[in-house]
Symmetry: C2
Subunit: 222 residues, 2 copies
Amino acid sequence: MVALEARILAKNDAGAAKNRAWLAGREILALNLVSSPGAGKTTLLERTIKDLKDEVPLFVLEGDQATANDGERIRAAGAPAVQVNTGTGCHLEADMVARGLSQLRPSAGSVVMIENVGNLVCPAMFDLGERAKVVILSVTEGEDKPLKYPHMFRAAEIMVLNKTDLLPHVDFDVDRAIANAREVNPDIAVLRLSARTGEGLDSWYGWLREQRTAAARAAMQI
Amino acid sequence: MVALEARILAKNDAGAAKNRAWLAGREILALNLVSSPGAGKTTLLERTIKDLKDEVPLFVLEGDQATANDGERIRAAGAPAVQVNTGTGCHLEADMVARGLSQLRPSAGSVVMIENVGNLVCPAMFDLGERAKVVILSVTEGEDKPLKYPHMFRAAEIMVLNKTDLLPHVDFDVDRAIANAREVNPDIAVLRLSARTGEGLDSWYGWLREQRTAAARAAMQI
């Protein structure tokens, strides 16, 4: 079983390396959004598309077990989207992303957001060729999640604490959540926002701009 | 890959059949609690243990990638618990449950609650020998989840809509959520409750009593 898992991951990593090279060649910033189901990935993307539409060309790959709902939401918000259904599968893999990109045809210099299947476990192990994994944790889920799902929080560059508008109504210790995330990943960046009310979105947009600059600088790394 | 998946599932099913026979022999009701991370499985168990401690002997198997936190919470609430850590694994399997039961030593006629890894995807495929899967959906996650994770909602006997105390603060259409669950599983039972405030718990206890009766009736089925 371990040997088989290693083989699957090695095959995926080879595909991820090709995706990464293609994205670099095209000077595209690609991010891999991961979270529990219902943490607010699609709502954050809808809001980002609306707010940045005059500044950044955004393209979205939507991963879900079933339905085309999220792709429709993204297109309604104003960005091209391709929906990838995984069936019984619990995560996106690099080859699904390669096929999705071929269909999505993102423009040079654009941003590609890959919304993974809602799952704090399996997507942690699968590199898709993204520049960074963005883990979204909603404050309704409890501050212990980084400790209970350490692989995901270790794999992520940044933790976005979402649904801060609900903080007055839930028992959630923000400082504890951040300390827990840093316990498994001392370098993780942290933002707090509410994709629903818009509170804190400026810091998210600031982070995106920094990532675009860094991706552009790395464009000649093959 | 498909052949391999079939072989893993066949091996698991054989283990689940043995677990089921052992549990029947011991006249134990076993339930498999599944949900997204942070939907409130542990809080529901804590509350259930406290409220039913004079009526039902309860034992808990706690599945998590890492930490012994939930096992400690359960023992503090007053029930014996064994923690099963899955490492990078995304779900419990029948053989982990068999080993956990050997360690937990649940008494004859008791109730065993198996709290699965927080994951709406992978645990759907793995029978653990339980009488029923209980899927917990919190109202902060959105009413579309049964359509986006259909395998889990199809595999469950009952959907518990949790965190109803937050309904005034979120955009969640309860009727739509129930309609979505019935679209993928017409026979699914539905309860609404708040494990935090206690609202609606009576119906959950009523359902548990019915399941105990049914499990006792099925005790001679080998």
